[in-house]
Symmetry: C2
Subunit: 308 residues, 2 copies
Amino acid sequence: MSVLVVGSVALDTVKTPFGEVKEVLGGSATYFALSAHHYTQVSLVAVVGSDFPKKHLGLFRRKGIDTKGLKIKKGKTFRWKGYYEYDLNQAHTQKTELNVFRTFHPKIPKEYKRIEYIFLANIDPQLQLSVLRQVKRPKLVLCDTMNYWIEKKRKELLLTLKEVDILLLNDSEVRELTGEHSLFKASRRILKMGPETVIIKKGEHGALMWSENSHFAAPGYPLEDINDPTGAGDAFAGGFLGFLAYTNDLSEDNMRRAMVFGSVMASYNVEDFSIERLERLKNKEIIERYRAFKRMTHFEDLNGEVIE
Amino acid sequence: MSVLVVGSVALDTVKTPFGEVKEVLGGSATYFALSAHHYTQVSLVAVVGSDFPKKHLGLFRRKGIDTKGLKIKKGKTFRWKGYYEYDLNQAHTQKTELNVFRTFHPKIPKEYKRIEYIFLANIDPQLQLSVLRQVKRPKLVLCDTMNYWIEKKRKELLLTLKEVDILLLNDSEVRELTGEHSLFKASRRILKMGPETVIIKKGEHGALMWSENSHFAAPGYPLEDINDPTGAGDAFAGGFLGFLAYTNDLSEDNMRRAMVFGSVMASYNVEDFSIERLERLKNKEIIERYRAFKRMTHFEDLNGEVIE
């Protein structure tokens, strides 16, 4: 099955302790698409300005990403400028220029309306809901958000969450949304808001998946070099949802595998700036790292050993 | 096989967001012993003052912990006063009264000199080395330390590390000891300092074990209620080394199991103040939580699936 993503395509200026880049390709829908296309067909709904470099459009097409839903509007493309210090889990925003993104009203092309796997990337929850009003009975809706919407549009966010299957947040957002410090209690609250599953991203510490009857912990992958954490969460979402759509199997076992594929994509993404690593990533490397995750987490069950 | 621990026995006054306790039983050797005794015979070397409550001595004995090496010296017992805020990974020390611990020179009783599994809890690295000079060819030496010794007695610590098999640190200590931010690079440095294995404790985010040819990640156990993180690292050490000594098997597979038993003990320890939870812990509960860890981390390997 294919996947639909609705989110931002941006030009990012990013500084980390390991280097800096200016006006490079970024945005939540971009990272998601360049991750998920390794697994399945991706259709992209977003907006860019008339200044958006042609080479980026060429990249999307070369990767087989359907850009019918990528609107090119008169004006400037959304720009984000930020930096990271040694705590790479924490992005510091210096400047956000919404530009054409300010009046973004996602319109889902007719050909996309029956796509069954949907990622609502981090945009205004009202726009997320408007996407769900335009599509036909999707099989799985994965939704991201951020502290800004939790604070400014809480009511709208709660309405959107009622129609979402899986909510994807980082640990501080989970705590802010629920007012619970314990991720255990916080997850239980989120499961009452609508989603049947919540995934908590913890950066270098991995990710957790909770549903009513199970929880799963995927560790972070220990990397020798992390250059730029931007987009890690969306690359995760791309591997997770891309694999689920590709296999079209929502069993617990398969969701757990999808968590690991998500972790694999996030771990590759942070090795280089912008989408560089995802762009040159080979499927063979994805499989290799999946197996490395397996080796890294495996331990034997007890075989009748009894401690005295 | 049995285990020997050399460290502190203290009276702690602790405040957390969930309660406070005054002059309760604490200290690194205490937590270790009350964890490890679930697996094997524990011999304790430490010092307390003449004010040390008899009931605590009774507890050690009731649990079968050998206190021949626990010296009762005229004067006051070591006291620690501290608090935690919502970030339970970070202890804030308000007062440390070394008292009789100031002149602690561990003397290993003759009967302990052939114990093969040794935990050098967090004490002055010179004292740790003096312990190793008194014992006979141990099979495994596990060593803890802290930022204070890394800063004040770096040279002595490096000498001790040459004779240690496994170093146990938290992530900030690893970074401080090596000057490397990446835990990957930091671990590689530590493996050049002497230990063949390093274990990095990450509090609620679990623990990592690195050796030259393998690394293993154990997740944190998601708890509904964490009341007091004091002693979690020593409870971990007790489960880890206790299980290794009990099984007397240092294979990679068994070390990984030991990591999970360590995580089990740490996760129980933080559920209550002081050693309360370890004291009433049943071996059946240990096995149950080991299995819960297994369920929580298990995912299927790839069975020939190929992503296109």
